[in-house]
């Protein structure tokens, strides 16, 4: 059952699919594994499914475009194993995976992590209550299950995704109770210097503006520069309170609240093998340091897609192709100069509006105080107050705070608390977020059963 492939690609979203297609074109036979049951990643989740016209139209042409890439991916004849989790990477590139309860090892000459992004945790008091989800989660429910909130839904946060989701939801017959825009005052002004570059990506910006205009014309209730958002309820979400730009406090009943504060690269894989990372100030997140082909500081380990830094789907496709070309060259087969130049030009064009978007929708920084009663670590149920108390005594950073509180030791392995702890410690220590850094990531990257572990050693399948 152990894999004998020279190339392993983890993730079958845009970057992973583009890399696989390019590698097949260059005569290689990579293995592609993915957690989901179908290719597409989150952006093109379940894109191959035939849908009723109304839902297809509501999801829009950018989503539908993924079907063509998924079609090319399937037709490439690549060895694709859906429903497969990667749970450990060892130096020298031994990769541990599990599919349907059976663990196996891959020892590729090149490993491409195309594991994408996740939504940045948006901690507010009450965000663990049933009824509070992320905007991305609601969009995935619409794509995968054809499912929308039953009643008018509250949406709070900042970024392009809430605007896109609201447009899709309204087109599908859903209703938005209100959009609580948490983008701080002055962000638009700070974005102006990036506008010239962004105009090269004008089509994307115009699309976003058109969606917002249409939503406003449809009577969308928008509150700008919202702060002090709190979700309340006992067994489930019952109400929201928030403060508007004029300083007034509001309280509304709510059944479903969707949160979103942008997306951050998925870095657990690269952190776990000590790849060099850089702190991206504009995106307030870590990303792996990469060469022109997407290779990390670890030989043979590549990253493509939003895991390399948030840049969107077009850039992910280009980065996937570039990583494939880099891997091909490494294994002794050069891609044509024209193909490489084409991928580089596409990546540049696709990245044109990113600086503007990062400035228009800034991540909440360490200056925004998270209330003491907010749960920071959803797994271990630790509050911001508890993390601050630990930070007052323990000055050694995230790993020391983790050791004394258990923050980040639950099943999510810090995916939902890492950046929040970073913010709190930056504020408590008077350091920059870049200096505070992130948890040390230890195996397993995803929970694995003893049964799976026990069966590994002899290379036989778990019973």
């Amino acid at each position: 059952m152990n894999s004998r492939h020279d190339i392993l690609i983890v993730g079958a979203g845009p970057a992973g699919m583009a890399a696989a297609i390019e590698l097949r074109r260059l005569g290689f036979a990579p293995l592609v594994v993915d957690e989901q049951s179908a290719p597409g990643g989150q952006i093109w989740r379940d894109v191959e499914r035939p849908r009723p016209d109304a839902l297809r139209n509501a999801l829009g042409p950018d989503y539908a475009a993924g079907a063509e890439v998924a079609g090319q991916f399937r037709a490439s004849g690549v060895d694709y194993r859906p429903g497969t989790r990667m749970w450990h990477i060892e130096p020298g590139l031994r990769v541990f995976l599990s599919q349907a309860g059976k663990a196996f090892v891959a020892e590729p000459k090149a490993l491409l992590l195309a594991t994408g992004a996740q939504e940045r945790p948006a901690p507010i008091p009450g965000w663990t209550l049933p009824g509070v989800l992320t905007v991305g989660a609601a969009q995935i429910l619409m794509k995968g299950s054809g499912q929308i909130p039953e009643r008018p839904v509250w949406i709070a946060g900042s970024g392009p995704l809430p605007i896109l989701y609201m447009r899709q939801l309204v087109a599908a017959g859903g209703q938005v109770a209100g959009y609580l825009d948490t983008t701080p005052r002055g962000a638009a002004l700070r974005a102006l210097p990036h506008l010239r570059s962004a105009l090269r990506g004008w089509a994307d910006l115009r699309k976003g503006l058109a969606w917002m205009r249409a939503l406003k014309a449809g009577g969308l209730h928008i509150e700008k520069h919202v702060t002090d958002l709190v979700a309340t309820g006992t067994e489930r979400l019952e109400a929201l309170s928030y403060r508007t730009a004029d300083g007034k406090a509001h309280r509304v009943e709510a059944e479903v609240l969707l949160l979103h504060e942008g997306v951050v690269p998925s870095i657990h894989g690269t952190l776990s093998v000590d790849c060099a990372h850089v702190w991206d100030e504009a995106q307030a997140a870590l990303r792996p340091a990469l060469d022109d082909w997407g290779m990390t500081s670890v030989e043979g380990l590549y990253v493509a897609g939003d895991g390399a830094g948030i840049a969107g789907v077009r850039a992910a496709l280009a980065r996937g192709r570039l990583a494939a070309q880099g891997i091909a060259a490494r294994l002794g087969r050069e891609a044509g100069a024209a193909e490489v130049a084409g991928a580089r030009a596409e990546l540049r064009a696709a990245s044109a509006s990113r600086g503007f978007l990062d400035a228009v929708f800034p991540a909440p920084g360490s200056s925004v105080e998270i209330p003491d009663d907010t749960i920071v670590c959803r797994c271990e149920e630790l509050t911001a107050g508890e993390i601050r108390a630990a930070a007052r005594i323990h000055r050694g950073g995230p790993n020391q705070v983790k050791a004394v509180t258990r923050c980040g030791m639950g099943p999510c392995q810090g995916r939902q608390c890492g950046y929040t702890v970073n913010r709190i410690l930056a504020s408590a220590y008077g350091q920059s977020q870049a200096d505070v850094g992130f948890f040390r990531i230890r195996p397993p990257l995803k929970p694995v059963t003893l049964q799976e572990l026990a069966a590994l050693d002899e290379g036989r399948e778990a019973p």
């Binding site: 989660a137 489930r236 797994c379 099943p411 939902q416």
Partner: protein
């Protein structure tokens, strides 16, 4: 909390959440079904036994962990629902019987 949009091409079938019959459709995840079936939760946490529902739907929050066909701590947002599936919502710490 959530409702299905019409999609006649999808096959419908029954699954069971804590023994109660719930309607599900081809291609959706177990977490999606949980969000349609009152009380819309996946579990009560092992730490403080507070109720949790699927939150991120993309495999990074682990709030949708439930028992599926006897397998404990399954990320239900990553598992496609199958006809007759038995889903149980855990309460508190798992009790291991040896």
């Amino acid at each position: 909390m959530f409702k299905q949009l019409a999609d006649p091409a999808r096959r419908s079938f029954s699954v069971f959440i804590d023994g109660a019959e719930v309607s599900a459709r081809d291609g959706e995840t177990v977490a999606a079904v949980i969000l349609r079936a009152p009380p819309h939760i996946a579990r009560h946490t092992p730490v403080k036994e507070t109720p949790r529902a699927p939150f991120c739907l993309m495999g990074v929050c682990f709030d949708c962990l439930a028992t599926v066909d006897g397998e404990t701590s399954v990320q239900t947002c990553l598992v496609e629902v199958q006809p007759g599936m038995k889903i149980e919502r855990p309460v508190g710490k798992l009790r291991i019987t040896l």
